[in-house]
């Protein structure tokens, strides 16, 4: 018995020694701060909680992910928070496109996107133009005609100011000479509900946000701002199919980033972690069900993608007059 015990202890000690030699590999030593750059109940929030549950369910990380919503100021709150964290190795964030647009609009925040650690791009979300079924509109032409008739009484609800939704609205106004009024909300869930309640006249919700009210028949998709038709809405044309030459497709990144100053070891750890999440059945099923596109991207490749996106957004925001 004693011999067995000694052997076990010895093996345990040996094991510890081995772990110690492999110290270069990063392991989280405390709960991981998992910041969500948007309000509760929206697309980003649901997705982040799904990621968390996949990690928990399959026991992928040694420490729990602790989600916190920081929705203030179209992501400004989350970005400045991440910029100032004490422990960048235990701070990761789920981002969307406000990751680019908010620092462009508010240079005073002193946020440098490229300083964030490119952990993983999990998907690209898509946008669809929705109206209430009672409007009786089914095509883009009818939409344009009705909005023109209503003048500045046509209201588009969206998540945040100068956000993805605002950019699409600005584009519609510009391209078709419309005067749509844009009202920022805290989250896509509230937008979807207000469209179903006819408090607003249209939205450009992500499919995941509008799905419930689409299935109940309250809201109708008009066009998708994608390059190909979405498998979920095969009868809904893409914007480019019916736009008469105006080319406009727009996507939103669903990425996980590390706080500025994260060590390379920690970044490698999180990339490996979220690659496992990406490959899980639960994530692939969600991606299909909610009409998400885009493949996994990380490291250098993701940084380059950000570079292109920032340039594009700077152009879009300049064109709409949001920045000089």
């Amino acid at each position: 018995m004693r011999l067995l015990k000694t052997l076990t202890l010895g093996a345990a000690a040996l094991g510890m020694a081995l772990t110690a030699t492999a110290a270069s590999a990063f392991e989280p030593s405390k709960p991981i701060d998992f910041v969500i750059m948007a309000g509760k109940g929206g697309g980003a929030d649901k997705m982040a909680r799904l990621m968390q549950s996949i990690v928990e369910q399959n026991d992928l990380a040694g420490q729990p992910l602790v989600p916190t919503n920081k929705s203030g100021g179209s992501g400004a709150e989350a970005l400045t928070y991440m910029n100032g964290v004490n422990d960048p190795d235990h701070s990761i964030m789920v981002t969307l496109n406000s990751f680019y647009t908010t620092p462009l609009r508010q240079p005073g925040l002193k946020v440098d996107n490229m300083a964030f650690a490119p952990v993983a791009r999990m998907a690209e979300d898509t946008f669809v133009l929705w109206v209430h079924k009672d409007e009786g509109i089914t095509t883009l032409d009818e939409f344009i005609a009705e909005v023109k008739k209503r003048g500045n009484k046509w209201v588009m609800g969206g998540t945040g100011k100068n956000s993805e939704d605002n950019i699409i609205t600005d584009h519609l106004n510009e391209a078709y000479g419309l005067d749509i009024k844009y009202i920022p909300y805290k989250g896509g869930g509230a937008v979807a509900k207000d469209l179903a309640g006819k408090q607003i006249q249209s939205s450009v919700n992500n499919p995941s946000e509008a799905l419930g009210f689409y299935e109940s028949g309250d809201v109708v998709p008009i066009v998708a701002f994608t390059n190909e038709r979405l498998p979920m809405f095969p009868d809904t044309p893409t914007h480019n199919e019916v736009s008469d030459g105006d080319d406009f497709a727009y996507f939103m990144q669903r990425s996980v980033v590390g706080a500025p100053g994260m060590s390379d070891e920690a970044q490698a750890y999180y990339t490996a972690l979220f690659t496992k999440v990406y490959e899980s059945d639960a994530w692939q099923k969600y991606k299909n069900d909610k009409s998400l596109m885009g493949d996994l991207m990380s490291g250098e490749e993701l940084s380059e993608y950000w570079g292109v996106q920032i340039e594009n957004h700077e152009k879009i925001l300049k064109a709409s007059g949001a920045i000089k």
Binding site: N86, Q106, K181, G189, K193, D194, Q199, L211
Partner: protein, 544 residues
Amino acid sequence: MEIVSALMDGLWIAVQPHNLALAVIGVIVGLFVGALPGLGSVNGVAILLPFTFVINEATSDPAAPMIFLAAIYYGAMYGGAISSITLGIPGASTAVATTFDGRPMALQGNADRALVTAAVASFIGGTVATLFFTGFAPILSSVALDFGNPEIFALMLLAFATFIGLGGDDIPKTMFSIFFGLLLATVGFDTISGEPRLIFMNEREQTAVLETFGAGTEAVPFFDSVSWFSRGIQFLVLAIGVYGIGEMIWTINASRYKVTMTETTISFRRIMAGIVGMKDAWKGTMIGSLLGFFVGILPAAGATPGSLMSYGVSKMTSRNPKSYGEGNPDGVAAPEAANNSASTGAMLPMMTLGIPGSPTTAVLLAGMVIWGLEPGPRLFEDRPEFVWPLIGSFYISNIVAVLVNLAFIPLFLAVLRMPFTILAPVIFVLSIIGTYAAYDNMYDVWLMVLFGFGAYMLRILDYPLAPAVLAVVLGTTAEEKMRQSLLLSDGNFAIFWNPFFDRDGKGQEWWIAPVTTWIAVILIVLPIIIWAVRKIRGGSPAEA
């Protein structure tokens, strides 16, 4: 009839041993989480969310994880009253109104009665709300859809109107308190424009500080405005400061030279007497149950305005409004019935519209998504095997919660038997730990202490502080909804008061917001006029 048989099936599943056990465990966890200042139902539900996967796999019952989390939610609503009554610190924003009369009752030696009243009122509120939920869920979810931005703002205005009656007779001081709270609510990032406000540093100073010290380094905790005021002022920071530190210093000062010990006795007979004594509090209970539920089903409102408005309405309609704040059982029953009723109500928009009405339901919503359910208008039709057992569990959890709560009352009363010289330092320590636990940031702890001393000063000067605390809770939503409405109307305030204001170019009439606004305006203006008239009348003989 269809509903009745569906409900019976649901109840049957809810009383299955595994679900019953989950309800009991959930309620007990919730009760303690709710009773600790700083921890509320959100923390409890969020921390235990991952645990539900285990439940999901172990029971293979789709409703079981939700039954567990809903039980925690309810338990916490019951528990919030406990620290409000015994310690005078509201454990959550929903229990602020409970301190107004619960604390005086405890100081008068009627803590047991206050706790029993809170428990029974909570039970009635929860059960009334569940009955409404069962019978009218689809109709009520369409009511929630009718509440857009102007309507929610009008409702917030109504909540503020009930504040006026809260601060006693001194209306200017109450107004000051409200505006101070609203001012605190504007600190941080503006939701609509994304600009930082009141962070006490302009861009030039910010740059200078950042260049000298670097962003977010440990060396500059007092100068880094980015991590200070840009985070905004959280409700709990102010509430714990005001009640945990401010009130405590005030009590120490008031009871100097005499060691006070609150008299408490408890026996089975006193609990029974407390239950019988509920007849003195039936009116508050009824007002709370109905009003709380209605406010709860409106997305973005939640249980806090519900409990507050119920207290206000109960006081306004009372024949003896002066007794409120002095330990009136109605004043405990109304907010407690309301916050439980509102919590059940808040489940409705979450399940039928996919919109969380409160932070806790937001976590529950995330849970449902994770378990593969799609909250939305089709949930009731598509997933009856989930919906009805859950509704059944609402009934069961309420019964479990009231029994567990009554059973634990002697334990909670033991806290009060501690001499104040021991209790006061314990409360200070709990205040600091609670604040740190809630937001994980020392900045909030310092701010809480600062608010505590400020509150003590204002208390000496006889300013009511509850309106400020509640203005911080509601101010953010009220501002957001007001500005969204004004964007809709191109800055025209008529959208709030004129039913014929054309919102969408279709010439429709909108009655909900204007009617609510006018009621609120009357409630605000009336006491001011009465106060002014009294002042003039009372003032003139003295001058003569």
